[in-house]
């Protein structure tokens, strides 16, 4: 998998000014997305996934500060673009978003089709009927009847609204579509249908997708490469198969334990004890320290750096060398209980 680079993010940090101090919601995140690839970002609530993509798309709230060494997209350095230029040239036209809770992302007073038309006309100088034709195509891609364009959002089911939002994100043939929790809040059957739809869309369009979810099962099924986030950092990233066959980071091991496996139905799920860190101040130790059953002296002294253990497989753990041992131990329930 050595495709052409689409997006390369170097050392992205986002800090929120809060009353309690500076929260490092995302610190030192480095990743890339290739053309025609699905890049999954997994992690529990509050790990910085949404902040990361909001920073990428410059949709951060006012109390957030973002810095990055470089964000290169389609050969263009985005950090040098002004807000207005970014909005005009990149946002939606070349990099679009299916927002979190996309179901509520349609304005209730306008027809669904008109909202997609608005998105098209905001960036492209086309007539309304041309835009409408494009909407018909888009609705076809996401599996909605074209005459549903005339309906209002409240006449749509949750899954239909989700698909309408996906249609809207594809409106301008962007190089990259970011899907923030595209299946959250939908029931399992609709989830499955949406995922199947996204897979079908992948074969029809050439966009890359960044898929953000806390659902390991979804990410395993959909992604080519996966990054696991914890405490605002990417703990481990690897091609999907590598990550599930030879996970190295204790957090990835824990996450894997916490999800049911189809092959082994008898297996009892093991959860990771404790709760995520508060992220106040710059990271000075491994953020997973308090919940990690394998932590050693070194873990509390500094934030472990990113280590490439094999091509495309990077991990942020001081004990990355002992991965086979950790894997063996992590599958035992006792390992995780001993922390409490």
């Amino acid at each position: 998998m050595t495709g052409e680079r689409l997006l390369q993010v170097q050392d992205l940090t986002v800090r929120y000014q809060t009353q309690m101090g500076e929260t490092h919601a995302v610190s030192g995140v480095t990743f890339f997305v290739n053309k025609n690839e699905v890049f999954g970002i997994a992690g529990e609530s509050g790990c910085g996934k949404s902040t990361l993509i909001r920073a990428l798309m410059r949709l951060l709230p006012d109390n957030a500060k973002m810095s990055a060494q470089s964000i290169e997209y389609e050969g263009e350095e985005l950090t040098r673009l002004s807000e207005a230029k970014f909005r005009e040239k990149i946002l939606w036209a070349r990099m679009s978003l299916v927002p979190q809770s996309a179901m509520n992302s349609l304005n209730p007073v306008y027809r669904v089709g008109d909202q997609v038309v608005e998105a098209i006309q905001a960036h492209k100088n086309v007539s309304k009927s041309e835009a409408r034709e494009r909407v018909t195509e888009l609705f076809d891609i996401v599996g909605l009847q074209p005459d549903l364009m005339k309906n209002f959002p409240h006449e749509f089911s949750g899954g239909m609204r989700q698909r309408a939002m996906i249609a809207m994100s594809l409106a301008l043939d962007p190089g990259l579509v970011v899907m923030d929790e595209p299946t959250t809040g939908l029931d399992v059957l609709v989830q499955e249908r949406i995922l199947r739809r996204i897979r079908e869309i992948r074969s029809q369009i050439s966009s890359s997708i960044i898929l953000i979810t806390h659902d390991i099962a979804v990410i395993a099924e959909m992604s080519d490469r996966i990054a696991v986030m914890y405490g605002g950092q990417i703990m481990e990233q690897a091609p999907a198969n590598d990550l599930f066959d030879t996970p190295c980071h204790p957090y990835t091991l824990g996450l894997k334990n916490a999800f049911p496996s189809i092959r082994n139905l008898q297996q009892k799920l093991i959860s990771i004890p404790g709760s995520p860190p508060t992220l106040l101040g710059a990271p000075s130790s491994c953020p997973f320290l308090e919940r990690c059953p394998f932590c050693v002296q070194q873990c509390s002294q500094r934030n472990p750096e990113n280590i490439t253990i094999q091509p495309l497989h990077e991990v942020r753990c001081v004990r990355h060398g002992e991965a086979p041992l950790l894997r063996e131990k992590a599958s035992e329930k006792e390992t995780w209980r001993s922390l409490n």
């Binding site: 036209a93 007073v109 905001a122």
Partner: protein, 298 residues
């Protein structure tokens, strides 16, 4: 392609149809609406409807000076002590009153809505400045304000309207700001932003239609308040002396000192004020039900 023949219905046209349904869906507001239309017709055709010049000293068929006549076939609403026909005065006053109501109600809701939308949407310093300014106006007592304004500029109609507008927009600004703040936190506004919509587009295309029921409620309130305010200002002698309004008619009565004798003189304009304001309140009530469904079916 079948969808290329989609009807080109604009959102605004659909919204208008919806408002017709809102008004007609409630019996009281339908009655109020009919009265408002009636008053509007009278106001528009006033010069042709009025049988006499409002400031013409009239004589009856016997050639006697028609001073302080009670309602009769000849003078349907009686006459003033100077022999003016009150029916004609009332009809022409309808025009002035409605004009003042529509203009000051309209301008005040325009100012109020814009200030509310902008303060609510941008928040922060913009909000702080605009809302503190509104607060200052809240501390302004109406009568001293209008006295100062009119003694500075004169008693022309436009200054009366200006004074009313400056006092009345404040409440609508506050209410619309509050509603804007609630709407702007909804997911679809963030989505519109992500889609690359400009701030202005979001304010006027995405938030405005969502605050419209509330806005129309306050438009109706503002018109009603402008009419009452104009009447009280005129009654106190701060109206435009050149044009005749319902409040102005009452002021003339007060000046003539015939309040105890000429019951017909104050009945008609007072009833008209009450009727028009009540009609407006009934119509606004229908909007209130939309804005606040808890009022429905009690």
């Amino acid at each position: 392609m079948p969808t290329s023949e989609l009807p080109q219905t604009s959102a605004w046209r659909r919204i208008l149809g919806e408002h017709y349904r809102i008004i007609m869906g409630n019996r009281l507001s339908a009655v109020g609406f009919v009265f408002i239309v009636l008053f509007l017709v009278v106001a528009i055709f006033a010069p042709w409807l009025a049988p006499h010049d409002p400031w013409e000293m009239l004589y009856d068929q016997e050639g006697e000076f028609a001073s302080l006549r009670p309602p009769s076939w000849e003078f349907p609403m009686g006459t003033t002590h100077l022999g003016y026909d009150l029916f004609s005065q009332l009809i022409l006053a309808t025009r002035t009153t409605l004009l003042i109501g529509a203009i000051s109600g309209g301008i005040s809701i325009l100012i109020g809505a814009n200030i509310g939308l902008i303060a609510g949407y941008y928040g922060g310093k913009v909000d702080e400045v605009l809302m503190r300014f509104t607060d200052v106006l809240y501390g302004m007592p109406f009568l001293p304000f209008i006295i100062v304004l009119i003694s500075l500029f004169g008693r022309e109609l436009e200054f009366v309207i200006l004074a009313i507008v400056l006092i009345i927009w404040r409440t609508s600004a506050r209410v619309i700001r509050a509603q804007t703040i609630s709407i702007k936190q909804r997911q679809f506004i963030a989505a519109a932003r992500a889609r690359g919509c400009s701030h202005l587009r979001i304010i006027y295309r995405h938030i405005l239609p969502n605050v419209l029921p509330l806005l129309l409620l306050y438009a109706a309130f503002n018109i009603a308040w402008s009419i009452i305010t104009e009447a009280s200002a005129s009654f106190l002698g701060f109206g435009d002396g050149e044009t005749i309004s319902w409040g102005g008619m009452l002021y003339e009565l007060w000046l003539s000192g015939k309040t105890r004798v000429a019951w017909w003189w104050f009945t008609a304009p007072s009833l008209c004020i009450v009727l028009l304001v009540t009609s407006l309140v009934f119509v606004s009530r229908a909007y209130e039900e939309v804005a606040n469904p808890r009022l429905r079916k009690r």
